[in-house]
Amino acid sequence: MSNASVISPERRIEFNAFDVDAWNLLLRESSARPIDTARIFYEKLVTQFPNAGRYWKAYIEHELRAKNYDKAEALFERCIFQVLHIDLWKSYLHYLKLSKGHIISMREKVADAFELAIDRVGHDIQAAQIYQDYIQFLTDVEAQGQYAENQKVSAIRKVYLRAVATPMLNIETIWQAYCDFEKVSLHVLPSADNDVRNDQHFSLFLNRIAQICSYNCKELCILLVFQSVNINLAEKLVADRVKDYQHVKKVLKQMELLMQGINRQAISVPPRGTQAEQKQIDLWRKLIVFEKSNPLRSDEVGLKAKRVIYTYDQALLSLGYHADIWYESAVYHEKIVAELRERGDMKTAETIERETSKLYSRATSGLMRNTPLIHFAHADFEESKGRYDIATKIYDDLIESNDDPTLAYIMLMNFIRRIKGVRAARKVFERARGDKRSKFHIYIAGAMMEFHCIKDSNIAQKIFDYGLKKYGNVPEFATAYIDFLYHVNDENNTRGVIERLLESPDISNELKIEMWDRYLDLETQVGDAASLRKVDHARRQALNEAYDDRQALFLVDRFKFLNLWPCSEDQMKLMGYNKISRLSSTTGGPTTSTQGHFMSQGLLRTTQQVNLEISGFPRPDTNQMLAFKPASRATPSTHPVSGGVFPAPRSVSFMLQRLPPPDSFCGPFVDHNILMDALKNFTREPPKANYKASVDVNDSIGKYKVADLKREFQQLVTTTTDPAVLYASEEYRKQRKRRHGAAGGPNDSDSEDENTNGTAAEATGDVFKRLMNAKVKAKEQMQT
């Protein structure tokens, strides 16, 4: 129907690979196709959105529908541990139960899977289904003999207890089922049931019975008494848990409130800075803070940590492109590890530590692939744990995969220096120098390392010299070099380098100014009067062009220090000194100027990304439609569609919008009879404007002097009010209102406008009518 003119989803994806709507459209189409043809699409889909549980689920279900169980299982294995998506897990368990549940030998495996699921996603608010299924599964097991029966009951009880201690939807049903279960289960003699046997009251009770009865009939006695007792006992067991259960329910209420508005089905896309997105982040953060406050009041740090970590994982499923959340999660992991160590729980601490490592790898191999920050965080973490080879590998991978590995090289160099010393770090520097992709920063980093660690300024200077040959025209490099020379108190060399740079023919204008500034600073601080004067003079000469002959600006430059200025900011702005904004943002200090430059570059990049709004919707094609201007029904029109007329062309309507309103016109009036006559008798060639020829001010056109004309025109322009200002003014509004009000009563209009003593037409400001009225009146006067 409308598809012909719509951009196809494939095109939309080409245009924007994160256009989730387009992917969904394609997914719908593919789900109707046979799996063999759709598989390529699905692979693309899960590569593009590797943490989207929804897409994995769709893919796997399609495979299942086509009965490719091996493939489906392989897919489950690929995603199930990476993507802790509750629906995905549910469908995994569903599949296992249906395909393997009835095979006796596989029962163990299915039970393991259930245990795993409860371990992984059992803290989810929607996990009730999993617990119920598990209990159902365990209940369906046919136990042979007393021992097995007791085993079964205690296994089921264990699951129930875990379920009712977890805040999730539908917990009431599980609680009810649990109560019923306790009542029924105690019909079975709980001799092997640890939970009950260990119960103090119960053992006391048994002893009492034993005392009362003779030893011979003890067993019989217990059996008889038990029938009446077990109901009470069940009630007692349940009553013990009721308080906890009430608390869990309360927590559930709070959680529901917090989760309101969170879109858990959202697919991770790179941040766009929209409000809705910000909102989601805020909501998730609130939920995480809530979980961190340990709402379940659990004494076990491990349990609390698990819930928080699970919440982080859930947040990352839909906010996978937010590096800050990845990092916060990792920091929380580390905090918990420390806490656990303090309490002596080494086993859990180690598990969580391993989890941290996995979390980082998941981030860096997945959505954070292109964010070096997380890579560095990962390397830092591994380094702190002493696993140097892993850290080295992370750096190497980052260098391999990046377009601009300079930063990674520098970080690697620092890292190697920390663990193996400067000698090894030099090798990294050599490697970086050989890499064609790395930039000049590597030379600065290398030289600085030599200078600060070996304390040998000669090697550093050599490196700088070498770099200067290659990057002589990069202002940041040159300034870094000069700063270095200046700091090692090598004035002569500094002067030499500056002069060499200034003399080089292909120096950029920006760098030239920068260099002169440096030169001046240097001479002000260390030079003698003669050389200072010399440089100041030379600088004025050289930069006259850039400074537009404003000598005061040179003076400001000479008497400033860092961000202290010899006159107030406003004064400098008035002088036209524009360096102030640039420098004050970097808060002085020559060494920060390079950083400042990158910071501003980084900022620029992020703001650009924020402004990037992707609409992705088909736009109406107005070329296929008719332009239209609504008009009242009374207006006669040639427009084929009723209710409007053709609008003026765009440029004209643009101009009309900017013209002042008609009633602001008050002359000069043209006598159109004379004008028409003049035009009729006009026989000469029409004049042509020659824009290129300049008019001399002293010339005259006809009897008017050009200078006079110019002046008068300027006066006219400056004295006419800007229509925009006029419209906005309160006076104008009032005037208009008055006029509209007066339109009905012509008698009032005299007082309002003294120049025209007339009728309603005048009041509305129609120039033409005003003119006609004046004429009629003139005629009437003539006649009288």
Partner: protein
Amino acid sequence: MIRSEIKDQDYLYKLIISQLSYDGFKQAAGTVAQELGMSVESAAASNKLMRLVNLARQYEDDPDIEKGESLFQYNGDSVGLDLEYGADITPTAPEPASYELVYASSHKAPCRSGAFNTDGSLAAIGSSDCSIKIYDIEKIIAREVRGEPISEAEQSQPVIRTLYDHVDEVSCVTFHPREPILISGSYDKTIKFFDYSKMAVKRCMRSLVEAEPVRAFAIHPGGEFLAVAVNHPTLRLYNIETQQCFVSAFPGDQHVEAVVDVCYADSAKLLVTGSLDGDVKLWDGISGRCVQTFARAHDNIPIRSVKFTRNGKYVLTTGNDSSVKLWELSTNRCLVNYTGVSGADRVNDNCGPACFNHNEDYVMLPDDKSGNLCSWNARTGDRKRYRALGHAAAVRDFIHSRTSPAFITCSDDCKARFWYKKL
């Protein structure tokens, strides 16, 4: 017979009835249902039986297929109305009758229009007193959760902005899909844009001048265009940035009488309009041409409202006689007829529009005769319990949030009431 077998049989009959009503044999479906002692409403029109039969035939041809394969179709939570794939999903959303009144606001004159923003955190109410008020829904709900009484206390006032710039009744309001802009249309023949991110906003930042009183509009999901229905048969499309206006290139596309409601599909590919002449028209979102007309959709009764489902496959229409219908666009026919309103068969200009709840499980309609809220299961047309709305006059506009179980009723008794399903 074993109980499960009876259940299976019931299911089979239900499928048969569904299939019959899907294929258009409403009469036959009714007869069969009567014979079996079932209600037609309980079976949504669907061709599931046909698909099952096809599957079974495949199975017969190729007997190697394992048993129970259809079991693997895992039904998740419903995310919208789609009778093709999810005809027998049971509603998971709270029933409309269980919503409770959480706040009532008064205006100086009848309330005529309301709108929620995209994430359901704000709502705007336009009134005959020429003003528009913006409410913070979260404040209302948070207050309710804290359990404070509904009072008009100064500090917890949920009205965050009041906008006065129209000189006549505000007939329609909507939020810009991305930016903090509220758009309003009025009988004073203007459409105004308010930047409500500014605290002190009173006047609009931009306006479009129309030649006729504005009745309704719909904003393009990308936020660049506005389809406008005025007191005139011609549907206009405005480019908001340039203020240019366009109409369909073919004059015959237009309605015969004034357009009363217009709605954009979420994909921006289609538009739907309803008119006083009783027709419902579908328009191509790109060329602006009319691509389909449901002539006399409600038997010559003027249309009150039109609404797309989220997937853009169905349209929900309301007539001025409080009749509500669901149209399937792939087959161009009326699929479900929601019946049983007490105010039916009585043409009434003050009738309110029907609306889906947030996950399209239910259809709701304020019935002005009884003052109740009628609701149906959207898939089967099964009528649900009433909810008394308690307004003293007709409900003129009725909107449901797209994200949470909350709705607003705007009434001629100068009140707007906020309803919400408490947890």
